[in-house]
C-alpha cells in the first residue's frame, strides 16, 4: 500500500470469549490481578523453556484442529441423500437450526440431538438456515453453498466467519434474500464489499460488527452498493462525536423480527 508507515495497529479482535485453555489465559480480556500474574508466569516460563513454549504451541494447534474437525463435510450423506440433506445435517450438527420448504424449523435439543426425519424427503430444498453462534468457518461453507434455493441465512455471532467467507457466498446469489451477520467479530468492511454479488438480497443485517472501522460510512456505502436491499446496521450518527450516555443508547440496534 502506501510507503512504510509506523507500527501498524494490529487489530486484535476478541475471539475466545471464554478463558478456557491456555490461549484464553494469554488473552486476558479483563486483566485482573491474579489473571495477570498467571499470564506473566506462563509467559516467563515460555520465554525461558523450550518445552513450555512447545507445549503452548501444541495446545494452540489443537484448538485450531478442533475447529477444523467441526467443519468437516459429510460426504456420505451427500452421496446418499443429496446436497440439501447433507447441508441440513451439517448445520444441525453445529448446533444451528434448519427450515425446509413448507416445513417447520428443526433444531437440536439441549443435548445436541435432533430428529433425522429430513432424510426421508431428500428432494425438498432447504429454505432457511440459522447457524448463529456455531463454529462454521471457510471450509464449513462448502456444505452450505450446495443449497441452491437458500433464501435466508443467519450467521450471527459466529466467531470464525470472516471476510474470506463472505467472498464465497456468491453461488447463493440467485436465491438468497436475507442475510444476517450481526455480531461476527472478524467481519470488516472489506468483506462486506463482496456482498455486491448478492443482487437478490432484500434484508441485510450488519449491526454490531466490532471489526468495521467506520460503521456509519460503511452502512452508507453498502446501501449504495445494494440499492434494492434494506440494510440494518448501526445508526449512521454513531460515528459522530456523541456523549457517552447518548452513545450507549444508540448502540441498541434494531433486532430483526
Amino acid at each position: 500500500m502506501v510507503a512504510p508507515r509506523a507500527p501498524l495497529h494490529l487489530m486484535a479482535p476478541v475471539w475466545n470469549r471464554g478463558t478456557r485453555g491456555i490461549r484464553g489465559l494469554s488473552k486476558a480480556v479483563a486483566p485482573e490481578g491474579s489473571q495477570r500474574k498467571e499470564r506473566s508466569l506462563l509467559q516467563f516460563l515460555a520465554d525461558h523453556f523450550y518445552d513450555v513454549q512447545a507445549l503452548r504451541e501444541y495446545l494452540l494447534r489443537k484448538q485450531v484442529l478442533k475447529v477444523h474437525q467441526k467443519n468437516r463435510p459429510f460426504t456420505h450423506i451427500k452421496e446418499h441423500f443429496g446436497p440439501h440433506a447433507a447441508g441440513a445435517y451439517f448445520i444441525l450438527k453445529q448446533g444451528g437450526a434448519v427450515r425446509f420448504q413448507g416445513k417447520e424449523w428443526i433444531r437440536p435439543n439441549a443435548r445436541g440431538r435432533f430428529s433425522l426425519d429430513f432424510l426421508t424427503f431428500p428432494a425438498v430444498p432447504v429454505e432457511a438456515v440459522d447457524a448463529s453462534g456455531s463454529a462454521i468457518n471457510y471450509h464449513g461453507l462448502d456444505s452450505l453453498l450446495t443449497l441452491k434455493e437458500l433464501q435466508s441465512l443467519w450467521l450471527r455471532h459466529c466467531p470464525h466467519v470472516d471476510d474470506w467467507c463472505l467472498s464465497r457466498l456468491h453461488p447463493l446469489a440467485n436465491s438468497l434474500q436475507e442475510l444476517s451477520l450481526a455480531g461476527c467479530p472478524r467481519i470488516s468492511e472489506r468483506g462486506l464489499a463482496c456482498l455486491h454479488h448478492l443482487q437478490n438480497l432484500r434484508r441485510l443485517d450488519i449491526s454490531d460488527l466490532p471489526a468495521v472501522s467506520n460503521p456509519g460510512l460503511t452502512q452508507i456505502l453498502v446501501e449504495e452498493m445494494l440499492p434494492n436491499c434494506e440494510v440494518l446496521g448501526t445508526d449512521w450518527t454513531q460515528g459522530l462525536g456523541l456523549g457517552p450516555e447518548e452513545q450507549s443508547q444508540d448502540t441498541a440496534s434494531p433486532v430483526p423480527a
Binding site: 500500500m1 494452540l60 467472498s167 456468491h170 472489506r190
Partner: protein
C-alpha cells in the same frame, strides 16, 4: 552518604547481572551484537518478503527441529526502497502460465490461514487487511482470444474466474464504459489485495521466534572455490562453491566473513548485482558460464487520487486493455493506480523520483475513458518502486544455479513476487532440504532456461 544514589546503582547492577545471564550480550572485550555470526548454514541475501518467506519455510520444513542456522542479511532496515512495501499489494490467479496460477493459489491459502502459519504465542493475531474484491481484466478485440484461452487454463487449475460480455459488464458495474471492450474476465474468489507491510512484519516476527538471525549489512564479496570437471562430451566446466559471504556493516569499513553452506539470492531488484559478485555470468557469452542473471531494476510509479463520484465499495482491481490499472483504497473514494510504461519509455532506475507527467499523459487518459467518473479527480500522492524485472520472460527464477552449485535464486518476479512469495519460499526450502520440488513443480523456472532459450512467457503482466 555512600548510597545516596541507591536507585541508579541498583539499575546498573541489574543491567550487569542481566548481561551475563544466558541470553544477554556479554563479551569480555566489546559489544559485537551488531555483527552477524561467524558461521551460518544458510545465508539469505535480502530481507524482503521473498527472503523472509524462504527463511520461514526453511525453519518450518527442517528435520529435526533447530537443525539449520539461517541468517538473513538486509541492507536497509527501514525498507525504504524494498519492492515489497512499495507494492500495490494485489494477489490474483489470472495468469497464463499454470505454475503461476498454482503459486498464487497456495499463497492465497497461506494468507487466508496466516494466523495458523505465523502464530506466535502471546502476540496479537495478524490482520493483513485483505480485500477479497477480485480482479477484473478487460480485453479489446485483439486480446479477447488470448483472454479466453487463459481463463480456460485458470479454471483448469482451480481458479474461480468467469467471463463477462460488455453488456454484463455494464449491468454489474454501471460506472464502467465498456466501449472498446470485447471480453472481460472477473475473478470472483481467491483474488484481491492486502497490506504487504503486515505480511512482512508477520513473517519477520515468526522467523525471529523460530530462531532465524537477522543482520543489517551489505553483502560485498563472496569467497568461493572452484573445481574443474569434465563432462561426458569432453567439455571442461568450472563448478564453483561459495564458502564465505562478506557482510559489510553500514557506515563503516568493518565487515564480517560469514562461513556458509548455502546462499539464497533474494535481493529483488539488486539480484543481478549479487549474482555478478558470485561469479554468475563470468565467461564467454553464449555459454552457460557466460549467462548472466537477466534481472534488473525497473522503476514503476503508483499514484493515489481522490474522486468523489468514483466507483463504490464493490470496485475490483481493474486492469484495462491498455495496461492501466486501478483499485479502491479505503472507504474515502481514494484510488490507487498506475500503468507499466513501454520499453521505449522506461524511466531511469537510478532513484525513486516520481514523474507526475507520466500520470497526465499515460495513466489518466485511458482510465478516464474507461471510467467516466475519473474525468475529474485530484492526485493526492504518488510514489515509485522497483520491479525485479526479468528481461528474459518476466517470470521468476527459482532454484539452484547449475555452476555456482550452492547459490539458489528466488527473484525476478517482475511485479508479481509479493503474491507468490509464500509459495516460492516453500518451493526453495524444498529444493534446499530435499533436492527437488515436492508440492509445486517449478522446473520451468530454473536458471537453465536462460542458456537453453526456453522462455516461459507470461502474458498477463501489468
Amino acid at each position: 552518604m555512600p548510597f545516596s544514589d541507591w536507585n541508579g546503582k541498583m539499575s546498573e547492577i541489574k543491567k550487569k547481572i542481566q548481561s551475563f545471564l544466558p541470553g544477554g550480550a556479554w563479551t569480555q572485550l566489546h559489544d559485537t551484537s551488531y555483527l552477524p555470526p561467524e558461521h551460518s548454514d544458510v545465508v539469505i541475501v535480502g530481507g524482503g518478503v521473498m527472503g523472509l518467506s524462504v527463511a520461514y519455510w526453511l525453519k518450518r520444513l527442517e528435520k529435526p527441529r533447530g537443525a539449520i542456522r539461517v541468517l538473513v542479511v538486509e541492507r536497509d532496515h527501514t525498507y525504504s526502497q524494498a519492492s515489497t512495501v512499495l507494492s500495490v499489494g494485489g494477489i490474483r490467479q489470472q495468469f497464463s502460465v499454470p505454475e503461476n496460477i498454482q503459486l498464487s493459489l497456495f499463497s492465497f491459502d497461506f494468507l487466508r490461514n496466516i494466523n495458523e502459519y505465523l502464530a506466535v504465542v502471546d502476540d496479537p493475531p495478524l490482520d493483513i487487511q485483505f480485500n477479497p474484491s477480485g480482479y477484473l481484466l478487460l480485453a479489446s478485440e485483439k486480446g479477447a482470444a488470448v483472454l479466453e484461452s487463459n481463463v480456460r487454463v485458470q479454471r483448469q487449475e482451480g481458479a474461480k474466474v468467469c467471463l463477462m460480455s460488455p453488456e454484463q459488464l455494464r449491468n454489474k458495474f454501471p460506472w464502467i464504459n465498456p466501449e472498446g471492450v470485447a471480453l472481460a474476465s472477473y475473478g470472483m474468489e481467491h483474488e484481491g489485495w492486502f497490506d504487504p507491510w503486515s505480511l512482512l512484519q508477520g513473517l519477520r516476527r515468526k522467523a525471529q521466534s523460530m530462531g532465524v538471525l537477522f543482520c543489517q549489512g551489505e553483502v560485498t564479496r563472496f569467497v568461493s572455490s572452484s573445481s574443474h570437471v569434465e563432462t561426458p562430451s569432453g567439455e571442461e566446466v568450472t563448478l564453483k562453491r561459495v564458502h564465505e559471504v562478506h557482510v559489510k556493516i553500514d557506515h563503516s569499513l568493518e565487515y564480517q566473513p560469514v562461513e556458509c553452506a548455502i546462499v539464497i539470492n533474494a535481493a529483488g531488484a539488486w539480484s543481478g548485482q549479487i549474482a555478478e559478485l558470485a561469479g554468475v555470468g563470468k565467461g564467454p557469452p553464449g555459454t552457460l558460464q557466460g549467462t548472466k542473471l537477466p534481472v534488473e531494476p525497473r522503476k514503476r510509479y503508483v499514484y493515489l487520487w481522490n474522486c468523489p463520484q468514483g466507483p463504490g465499495l464493490e470496485t475490483p482491481f481493474v486492469i484495462d486493455a491498455s495496461g492501466a490499472y486501478f483499485r479502491r483504497e479505503g472507504l474515502g473514494n481514494n484510488y490507487l493506480g498506475g500503468c507499466s510504461p513501454t520499453e521505449e519509455e522506461e524511466p531511469d532506475p537510478e532513484n525513486l523520483e516520481v514523474d507526475h507527467e507520466f500520470f497526465q499523459d499515460k495513466v489518466w487518459p485511458p482510465l478516464a475513458q474507461r471510467v467516466p467518473a475519473f474525468e475529474s479527480l485530484k492526485v493526492r500522492s504518488a510514489w515509485a518502486g522497483y520491479y525485479d524485472y526479468n528481461t528474459f520472460d518476466q517470470n521468476g527464477v527459482v532454484g539452484p544455479h547449475p555452476l555456482v552449485v550452492n547459490m539458489y535464486f528466488a527473484t525476478g518476479f517482475s511485479g508479481h513476487g509479493l503474491q507468490q512469495a509464500p509459495a516460492v519460499g516453500r518451493a526453495v526450502a524444498e529444493m534446499v532440504l530435499h533436492g527437488n520440488f515436492q508440492t509445486i513443480n517449478l522446473r520451468p523456472f530454473l536458471f537453465n532456461r536462460f542458456h537453453l532459450g526456453e522462455k516461459v512467457q507470461e502474458h498477463n503482466i501489468i
